[in-house]
């Protein structure tokens, strides 16, 4: 067995101490009729061969493309220090700091994470982490129900489809989730329809616990967050902002426009895309909601000698103490990713983070101009952050051909939202500080060729060839 310490002699010595001949005797309590049929798995693989297998698998992925894909997960430059520090075994081979005397490193790092993210959000309390942005948003939705003792939550259709789907699953236990439609046409097309929200809030028989909107929204557009929040509050509901943390270096923080809760995907803060996770679920709230916030919290305190120290606190919300009356069932969280985010923020600093955000905005503007010149106009007109949708006829086919040419042309919106005619034949593209002007120029040129090539003619040719 790899990694095992026991020699045959060690095993014999332990068995002899127990008065046994064979380890099988220790499994005699498994009833004979329930014993396993065997373990049909490949033979053990030595490290050398296994490493080659893993390299071959990793090599089958195509990550050598020039990518304009965001859609909730963004490529950024991660300073080299972040991963070097994460690789210290003292961080990643420890567990939940149940014994604070020998866990001050993890505890202080979580306190610092809570402080850094609270600063970005403009809120008072940030949990030690949730699974990802979607799970954090679902927990936020449940918080609004517990706090208001109401059972109906409204979520903007422009919240990421995975986030909406996750909320719907978490609400499977009996709570009600309804979508707020978007403005269909005009300057505000693609953003949350305030009048529709007010109508949904107006039903006195079905009081609303929470209203949820994203800034920027799934299409990259900037929402009228203050107005949406005011409407929620006027109806006695809480307002939840789903945010992208890098954007908060320059955009109004949720605390400034009256959000009671903020949730977000922390991946942009120094975490690799790695096909979906592990990421970082950010969840923050105002002081008034501190007893409703699920997940671990670390606070500052003192030890018996009066020395400053850190400890997990307000544990009476948690499952291991409160069992069926806990605020959530969460136990294992994403602590190592919260640490990654903290190291990222500490290394990049406030000015660096602003540069990251502002460069993304600038590059996206450059991308918009280049794509428009290539014949792909924006789908919406509202201001956007670093991501926007463009209208491309036969978007899926164009996207595939561009992949063959080495470009990942964003997201085919119809793949994410097959039932939404408003986004048929559209691509969602983004730019960040790692997108170069050369990438943009080459991508626009390739797209222009594909569009000018006449996709209709190509498919006719393909049909004739068959």
């Amino acid at each position: 067995m790899p990694y095992g310490p026991h020699t045959d002699g060690d095993r014999e010595r332990m068995l002899a101490a127990l008065g046994l001949d064979s380890v099988d005797a220790l499994f005699a309590d498994i009833p004979a009729e329930l014993r396993a049929s065997g373990l049909d798995l490949p033979d053990p693989e030595p490290e050398l061969e296994l490493a080659a297998r893993l390299q071959a698998l990793a090599g089958r992925n195509r990550t050598d493309v020039v990518s304009f894909l965001g859609a909730g997960v963004y490529r950024h430059w991660t300073p080299a220090a972040v991963d070097q520090l994460l690789l210290r075994g003292e961080w990643y081979t420890a567990y939940t700091p149940y014994q604070p005397e020998v866990s001050q490193g993890t505890l202080q790092s979580i306190y610092e994470y809570e402080s850094l993210v609270a600063e970005l959000l403009g809120l008072d309390v940030v949990s030690a982490s949730h699974y990802d942005g979607a799970a954090a948003a679902a927990e936020a939705a449940l918080m609004t129900c517990r706090q208001t003792r109401r059972e109906r939550v409204l979520v903007s259709h422009a919240v990421h489809p995975h986030v909406r789907a996750t909320m719907a699953t978490y609400f499977g236990g009996g709570l009600e989730l309804e979508e707020i439609p978007l403005v269909a046409e005009g300057e505000a097309a693609g953003t949350t329809d305030l009048a529709a929200l007010q109508a949904l809030l107006g039903d006195p028989d079905r009081p609303v616990a929470g209203v949820i909107a994203a800034q920027p929204n799934f299409y990259g557009l900037l929402e009228p967050m203050a107005e949406l929040g005011d409407a929620a509050h006027a109806a006695g509901a809480l307002f939840v902002a789903v945010v992208e943390p890098v954007s908060l270096a320059v955009l109004q923080p949720p605390g400034a426009y009256g959000a009671d809760i903020a949730a977000g995907e922390g991946q942009p803060l120094g975490i690799a895309p790695q096909y979906g996770g592990p990421y970082l679920g950010i969840l923050g709230a105002t002081d008034a909601l501190v007893r409703q916030i699920p997940g671990r919290l670390v606070g500052m305190t003192t030890d018996l000698d009066g020395q400053r120290a850190f400890v997990m606190t307000m544990r009476a919300r948690e499952q291991d103490i409160r069992r069926d009356r806990a605020a959530s069932n969460i136990c294992t969280n994403q602590a190592l990713l919260a640490l990654a985010a903290s190291i990222y923020l500490a290394t990049i600093g406030p000015h660096g983070l602003r540069d990251v955000a502002a460069t993304g905005v600038a590059r996206a503007g450059e991308l918009e101009k280049a794509l428009a010149a290539a014949g792909a106009e924006r789908l919406h007109r509202a201001p956007y952050f670093n991501e926007f949708a463009v209208r491309v006829p036969e978007a899926r086919a164009v996207h595939r051909r561009l992949l063959d040419r080495g470009f990942l042309a964003g997201l085919v919106l119809a793949d994410a939202e097959p039932d939404d005619p408003a986004v048929a034949d559209a691509l969602l593209v983004c730019a960040t500080e790692v997108t170069t002007s050369d990438d943009i120029a080459r991508f626009a040129a390739a797209l222009q060729e594909e569009l000018a090539g006449g996709s209709g003619m190509r498919s006719e040719l393909a049909g004739a060839a068959r």
Partner: protein
Amino acid sequence: MSVVGPKLQPTLFERSRPGRGDGKIPHPPKDALDRLPPAVLRDTAPALPELNEPEVVRHYVNLSQLNFAVDTGFYPLGSCTMKFNPKLNEWAARLPGFAGLHPMAPDEAAQGTLQLLWELEQALMAISGMRAVTLQPAAGAQGELTGILMIRAHHRKNGDTERSEVLVPDSSHGTNPATATMAGYRTITIPSAADGGVDVDAFRAALGPRTAAVMITNPSTLGLFEKRIGELLDAVHEAGALAYMDGANLNAILGRFKPGEAGFDVMHFNVHKTFSTPHGGGGPGAGPVGVGETLLPYLPTPRVLRDDDGTFRLERPGERPSSIGRLRSFAGNTGVLVRAYTYIRAHGGSGLREVSDDAVLAANYLMHRVAGSYDLPHGGPCKHEFVASAASIKKRTGVRTLDIAKRLIDYGFHPPTIYFPLIVDEAMLIEPTETESVETLDAFAEALIAIAAEAETDPDVVREAPHTAPVRRLDEATAARQPNLRWRGMTGRQMPCPD
């Protein structure tokens, strides 16, 4: 000498000096933000600390040294399976082809990762005897929620809407009842039998037309295999309910017992326990869920599919309407799953069986070594962990399990899980794992024996422990009564930084 570094650190905020730190990102053009409406822009920049890289590195290296970790010493935290985390796993997860892959990349760009995920599902099916596996849940507790929501969907499909209760034994993890609540069920807690096992008669009495599910941890949180599990599963199914297995303790039974073969309908795996993915100071984990035939239609979406031509793809939105939906964004904690795959491949079938053999042997040996000094409420052979109790010591000397745990720190060990399971007075749940040498097991046993003796001869040295850690016991009451949950500058009752 301390088992961890001695030097407490100022916070990042105290280290900050305006003007420090630059050189990571080119500066954007001055007019970069001009196209955004002024109303959406922040009035004041966030007050993040300003640090240069060497300062950041020292901060985090010094902080890390305040942690006890598997890489620094023996960490017998029961129920958490703190085994060695192989370094090949870390290398594999960081391969650029895995780490750099966007989760919404088209399937044809993701064939390597999709194949790995598909093969991992197959391996977990072989290990568990389950019919299919989803890798999406982000942790064990989310796996539990997945399982109970699938059970709910099953009953609803059958028009069986009266089922509103989930039965759990009183020895269960807190996540089980908390999950039942999240899924809209009421928890009924069933007392354990005198031998620590499930009380089949009490379960039988509680089972009925209102029972949706039963959640069982096997081996139990006492480290005991549930000998009457066959009978219990029959009774559950006769009542029309389904059986969930909490797989937290799978490390004891690899190659010896398959929950799917025994008749469990659904279970979760904790890959950070059984399959060596790092605990990360609290996470990340991954909580794959295996199901039998009954729950197959309800698995979360997207599943990883292999088409007839041998290519892999993710299920498309709406492709399988019977699914309970998504538990989170994207495919799952894939980076964690790469590590679990690497571990399973490195061990193969024979190696995994040895894992359990050695884990169970180590636990029994350690239990035998401390038998003369501590109460062992459930005697007999254990599986991969065992419960010892300081109840007799407390009665004689006033020294509690908490004190003994803290004293272990002075002896160079991480304490075991304490005061869990809740049904044993002064409990210590001790799990040595298969990667600790017999020399380490002996040294730990001798420390526990020595502390038991100290409790008689010098109880204060135990009650005041730890003596060698960078901080003494903490004022948890004030932390909870007057919470200070974020840095707000050097105000109020905050202490000056330690250096």
